[in-house]
Symmetry: C2
Subunit: 164 residues, 2 copies
DNA sequence: GCTCAATGGTTACAATTGAAACTATCGAAA
DNA sequence: TTTCGATAGTTTCAATTGTAACCATTGAGC
């Protein structure tokens, strides 16, 4: 029996974890998220969900919680929790829609804006240091590939969810 | 004051979450992991950590728990838990190293191999469907980019951890 | 004006995870 | 041979997260 045959013996063993794209994506994403999460926590006492809410409200003030959820790929429970801690830290102001009293209207407080203007450069700095590993052309390609794959992953997820 | 200046007022507002690579990577990776996790759970009662342990032991039998951890990017606690549930399901056999009684020696049971040979094609099938969104050349590029970025992320993580 | 399904958001509870402490064993040095 | 720091692996406890149930409000249909 040859060494390669002994390794496992049939077609299924074409799978090598260290070449499996979903695994590699997960490892990469975890590394990146961890780095960032530690920096935010250490410097501003911000979690990633809180940071996402902050970032989206900095650019689009007066969103409701569900609108924030849509723009951050978070579910509404996660948004609710992030909003609560940001409110407690007085980094957010919440009012309610006059015409529909279910809907909240969220925007950054002065303190929230202050934190944001300090976190944002940190975030962009990290991104730049990460992408420095790539050529300009590779960066454009990466952008495109992430977009394509995300679109495809959504599609596959949908298909899979439906026929069950 | 121009519209773009009004949007926020200084350099920090170049940040848009939906163009921020760490965010986009996280969204993509979560989508992919979720799809796979649901399929594994539904069809085999396997979690992702369990699947990783299975996959690495299928290819490299008789590893210890720490060796499994190294090859799966999991920490030793996660490996310990995955090993326990796989043992409980009789998908793994554990012995101990004769020369060093701290080290476990892990390999798949017949049942474990049977599960593996059924899961592996599923995993590869998902990967193929995902990568079908890309040309062959883009797939090669993706491979390279993930490698570069992972390497760089590790480096940045290290640097960051040290000077604190 | 009611009723009722749908929507916005929160709460409660279980399951997962992470960090630190712990046990057991080992190997090197005195 | 005893001691002690390092390694393998597990346990424990707290924090995070996910799911489902829940409450309040709304708007559409009757």
């Amino acid at each position: 029996m040859s060494a390669s045959a002994r390794a496992s013996g049939n077609a299924s063993d074409k799978l090598r974890l260290d070449r499996f794209v979903p695994y590699r994506l997960s490892v990469l994403s975890n590394l990146v998220s961890m780095s960032i999460a530690h920096a935010y926590e250490r410097e501003f006492g911000l979690t990633i969900p809180e940071w996402r809410v902050l970032a989206v409200l900095a650019r689009y003030p007066n969103l409701s919680a569900v609108e924030v959820a849509e723009r951050t790929a978070m579910d509404k429970v996660a948004v609710s929790r992030a909003v609560q801690s940001l409110l407690a830290a007085r980094r957010l102001v919440r009012t309610y829609d006059k015409g529909d009293r279910r809907r909240s209207v969220l925007r950054l407080s002065a303190a929230g804006r202050a934190v944001y203007t300090r976190v944002a450069p940190l975030a962009l700095g990290y991104e730049r240091k990460l992408l420095d590993a790539l050529s300009a052309s590779d960066r454009r390609t990466l952008d495109r590939l992430i977009g394509r794959l995300t679109e495809r992953a959504r599609l596959l997820d949908q298909m899979d969810g439906q026929d069950s």
